[in-house]
């Protein structure tokens, strides 16, 4: 029974570690798991570790899977893994980006809330980073709105002007063609086609003429 229990503890430890190393390049992951596994075997054989409590001591000296995995990512130059973390520090680090977008309105509230959770240093940054992000959006929105309005206005004016020009030209053509020849009937069918759909927009023109 006890040997089964110790085997379970080792297997569980290695499994927990492997789960946390998924972000590492496969060869580094395999290498580390093999080394840790060999370390446990060596210690058990050479130090006569048999009881469950001795084995748990051994695993404790190794460090928790979170600690070992964090060291592995650091030595691999990969920073903190994004996934598979139960450690407190990484969790806090990850919550910061998630909090950044909202600071638009209440940055002071966050500045007040964070320090009590843990160390002051890591948390002093986000409030500082928050305000710079906050002011721009409103400004951009205003700029965007006014810009859009101007663009839309100009577009409408140009469209109306062009349509007016087209209609005026079209009617002049129709009138001159109508007075000229019998072929005007065919021209009539072709020419009025474009104006018709746009008539509602340019209703005043015919009345002017």
């Amino acid at each position: 029974m006890s040997s089964n229990k110790t085997e379970d503890a080792v297997a569980e430890y290695l499994h927990e570690l492997e789960l946390r190393l998924t972000g590492l390049p496969v060869l580094q992951r395999r290498e580390l798991l093999a080394e840790i596994s060999a370390h446990i075997s060596n210690e058990r054989v050479e130090r006569g570790v048999t009881s469950e409590s001795d084995l748990l001591d051994l695993l404790e000296r190794l460090g928790s899977p979170e600690v070992v995995a964090a060291a592995a990512y650091e030595e691999a130059g990969m920073g903190e893994p994004v996934l598979a973390y139960a450690g407190t520090a990484p969790a806090a680090a990850r919550s910061l980006p998630a909090v950044l977008p909202p600071p638009d309105s209440p940055p002071p509230a966050y500045a007040g809330e964070f320090p009590p959770f843990a160390g002051h240093r890591p948390y002093s940054a986000p409030p500082v980073a928050g305000p710079p992000f906050a002011p721009p959006p409103p400004v951009r929105k205003q700029e965007d709105n006014t810009g859009l309005r101007v663009v839309i206005g100009v577009a409408i004016v140009t469209v109306v002007v062009v349509l007016l020009g087209c209609l005026a030209g079209g009617f002049l053509m129709v009138q001159s063609a109508g007075s000229d020849a019998p072929a005007a009937t065919t021209v009539d069918r072709v020419e009025p086609a474009p104006p018709f759909p746009e008539n509602p927009l340019v209703a005043p023109v015919p009345t002017v003429e």
């Binding site: 080394e35 840790i36 060999a38 370390h39 054989v45 000296r61 070992v68 030595e75 691999a76």
Partner: protein, 113 residues
């Protein structure tokens, strides 16, 4: 407490790897042996499992070489040895460390002790 742990972590960073290099300077040692040796140094005490990623990096940057060898008792052992570039890195650290230590001693007031 957190600050104390932070301090020893910061001090260890950048120095521990040269302690590892020095440990295999004159004889090859296998991973568990290196880890045990560190376990005996209370000032350097880190979680033993974190030494292996360090060994892995030192091997990747070419300061350590490793060779597998059968063990009479347990699983195969990976023996580490210093490479030429590892040796020169260690020599460089030694001269830097002496002047660094003297400067810190002078500024912090620990030189006379």
């Amino acid at each position: 407490m957190a600050d104390v742990a932070q301090l020893s972590t910061s001090l260890r960073r950048g120095t521990l790897e040269f302690c590892v290099l020095a440990m295999v300077e004159h004889e090859h040692r296998y991973g568990t042996e290196i880890v045990r040796r560190f376990g005996e140094e209370r000032n350097l005490a880190a979680s033993e499992g974190t030494i292996y990623p360090l060994l892995s990096r030192l091997r990747r940057v070419g300061w350590l070489d490793s060779k597998w060898s059968e063990s009479p008792t347990g699983p195969p052992r990976r023996y580490y040895a210093l490479t030429d570039s590892g040796r020169s890195a260690l020599e460089h650290f030694r001269s830097e460390w002496v002047s660094f230590r003297q400067t810190v001693d002078r500024l912090v007031g620990t030189g006379g002790a």
